[in-house]
């Protein structure tokens, strides 16, 4: 029986709600951002839920103060606001202070990439992977479905340190029907091929699966990897996997060539001396104000299935030149 897809945030919030009944040290802080499941937390744990209002800078500093008092803190807001509005608070009160004082603060940012489709560039989020992975001590987690998103709860609750959870605002199809991926590895191999390996994170895993089906139909042998832990994956294991490919393609719902997942893999290849070639797929150009479906917007900026299929096909052909 297939599993009904759910919103990532609702699944994680449900895990948090259940855990709060057992663990009095979990505190939830929202920057005036809700969800039906959050209503249960607000109703059942009013002493450990607080809404700071539309005030993300305060969200972070209040969370830091609570964490210093021993609480496991979940802080919740829209992705661009919980990362960029308060970046200096994140740097100083979480990344820097956690170097000296252990604290457990988990930032849940909802609205990865273009998932707030018609809300425009203020609510869309294409810079956060770059910014958050730049911070030492931070763990950046980018799941692709609600199963993998919900599984992050155990990691968040049990592992100290600040973390950023990049969640899609839309309900995405279920990827992990047979259970969550191994969080210790940080990536999951969906298929193994010979010609090219698509490494995707978040929503772009769905695009990768779509594109891979077309590439396979065209006679190419394609590998697919879901990179859900941007900051702490099993690097040696990933190197061993990638070494067998002539080319790899990174896919992210973030600006292309501006320090995101693509930059990380260019560096990975260079530092580890891999001979594989790489194509980076990401949002081309700058901010745009056009309206349309997510798929239409993706095609406009070079990350829609048709655009990606075209780019990867050209790339794969070039590998045999």
């Amino acid at each position: 029986m297939s599993i009904k897809p759910l919103a990532m945030r609702d699944v994680l919030l449900d895990r948090i709600w259940r855990a709060m009944a057992e663990d009095a040290k979990i505190y939830f802080v929202s920057a005036d951002f809700g969800s039906p499941v959050l209503d249960k937390i607000r109703a059942d744990f009013p002493d450990r839920f607080v809404n700071v209002g539309i005030a993300e800078q305060n969200l972070i500093n209040i969370s830091a103060g609570l964490a210093l008092e021993g609480y496991t803190v979940f802080a919740y807001a829209i992705a661009p606001f919980i990362t960029m509005r308060c970046y200096e608070q994140i740097r100083v009160s979480l990344a820097l202070l956690s170097e000296v004082r252990p604290m457990n603060v988990n930032l849940i940012g909802v609205g990865a990439g273009y998932s707030y489709v018609v809300s425009g560039p203020t609510h869309q989020c294409y810079e956060d992977l770059t910014l958050m992975r730049a911070l030492p001590n931070f763990r950046v987690l980018s799941p692709s479905d609600h199963i993998s998103a919900g599984a992050l709860f155990d990691r968040c609750a049990s592992t100290k340190g600040p973390k950023y959870l990049r969640f899609d605002a839309q309900v995405l199809p279920v990827i992990y029907e047979n259970g969550a991926p191994d969080l210790d590895v940080g990536f999951h191999i969906h298929s193994t091929g010979k010609d090219v390996c698509l490494i995707a994170t978040g929503y772009m895993l769905h695009t990768a699966l779509n594109v891979a089906a077309n590439l396979t139909a065209a006679g190419h042998s394609v590998g697919i990897i879901d990179l859900f832990d941007i900051s702490n994956f099993a690097a040696d294991q990933l190197q061993a996997v990638l070494s067998s490919y002539a080319g790899i393609v990174t896919l992210e719902e973030g600006f292309r060539g501006r320090g995101g997942v693509d930059s990380m893999f260019f560096e990975f290849i260079a530092r580890r001396g891999l001979s594989t070639r790489m194509l980076n797929i990401g949002v081309e150009g700058g901010y745009r104000f056009e309206l349309g479906s997510r798929e239409e917007l993706h095609e406009q900026v070079g990350i829609g299935p048709q655009s990606v299929l075209s780019s990867v096909t050209t790339f794969v052909q070039s590998l045999s030149d």
Partner: protein, 272 residues
């Protein structure tokens, strides 16, 4: 520790001398703003206000003291050394290779709770701590020392609004109101007008005091700490930047001025 007014004045004078001596050896430290806050810290640590344990700086039973005006707290170096947080000899190595006492204090220093170099974060973090203490049923207090110039950072006011909304009467904000930031008088930059009126309008209980009258600061802090009436509390300490140093005291650019070593030597000789 609960010293008499006479002893507090003597201690404040000793801290003033030691702060000058630290700056004489390490001119990278910010002197002027560290001289305006001496009596505040002396009252907190020697006046029976704070509960602390130098042998366990982060012990659960301590009162929390967040020093938000990091640059202007070099006077805490001699205080913490004197109280036994670290050896007095460390004062001779400030800003030197291998020392943990830098030009701006960091939380690697025993006795410092948070990161202080970037201004405007202390009030928010202290507010979170106060909320956490309330939630876990602790009666401990949180004190946070901020400069008035630092209150130009808007994040402070997010926390100030939050603290009164949540009736955090275990939270105490002490403002070193020396009325000078880096490039001049705050009244000429962005005036706070009356901080007392402003904070009262935000739902805080406020007291004002001569920030260089250490006995008055002590009395005000003890009164504030006792008062748990459902409101956060602020003490506006009227102070002079560069207090006691001719040429530096209340000079608009005092934050970036370093008195000549000969002047410091002469002040130390004339004020034993």
């Amino acid at each position: 520790m609960n010293m008499s007014p006479i002893d507090l004045r003597e201690k404040a004078h000793w801290v003033w001398r030691e702060t000058l001596a630290v700056h004489r050896r390490a001119p990278e430290t910010r002197l002027a703003s560290s001289l305006s806050s001496i009596e505040i810290f002396v009252a907190l640590y020697y006046g029976g206000v704070l509960r602390f344990d130098p042998t366990q700086p982060l012990a659960e039973h301590r009162d929390r003291c967040v020093i938000s005006k990091g640059h202007g707290s070099i006077c805490m170096y001699p205080i913490l050394a004197d109280l036994g947080y670290f050896p007095l000899d460390e004062l001779k190595r400030v800003c030197q290779t291998g020392s943990f006492l830098g030009g701006i204090p960091d939380p690697v220093i025993p006795g410092y709770e948070t990161v202080n170099g970037s201004l405007g974060h202390g009030v928010g973090v202290a507010t979170g701590m106060a909320l956490g203490l309330k939630c876990k049923g602790s009666d401990r207090s949180v004190f946070v020392v901020s400069g008035d110039g630092e209150l130009h950072e808007g994040a402070n006011w997010e926390a100030i609004m939050f603290a009164s909304q949540h009736k955090l009467d275990n939270l105490h904000l002490i403002i070193d109101d020396n009325r000078i930031s880096m490039l001049g008088y705050t009244d000429d930059i962005v005036s706070h007008g009356s901080l007392s009126a402003r904070l009262s309008a935000f739902g805080w209980d406020c007291l004002e005091v001569d920030g260089h009258d250490v006995a008055a600061v002590q009395a005000a802090l003890l009164k504030m700490k006792k008062n748990r009436a459902g409101k956060p509390k602020a003490l506006i300490a009227r102070t002079l930047k560069g207090h006691g140093v001719p040429g530096l005291e209340n000079a608009p650019l005092s934050h970036i001025m370093n008195p000549k070593p000969e002047l410091i030597d002469s002040l130390l000789e004339q004020n034993p």
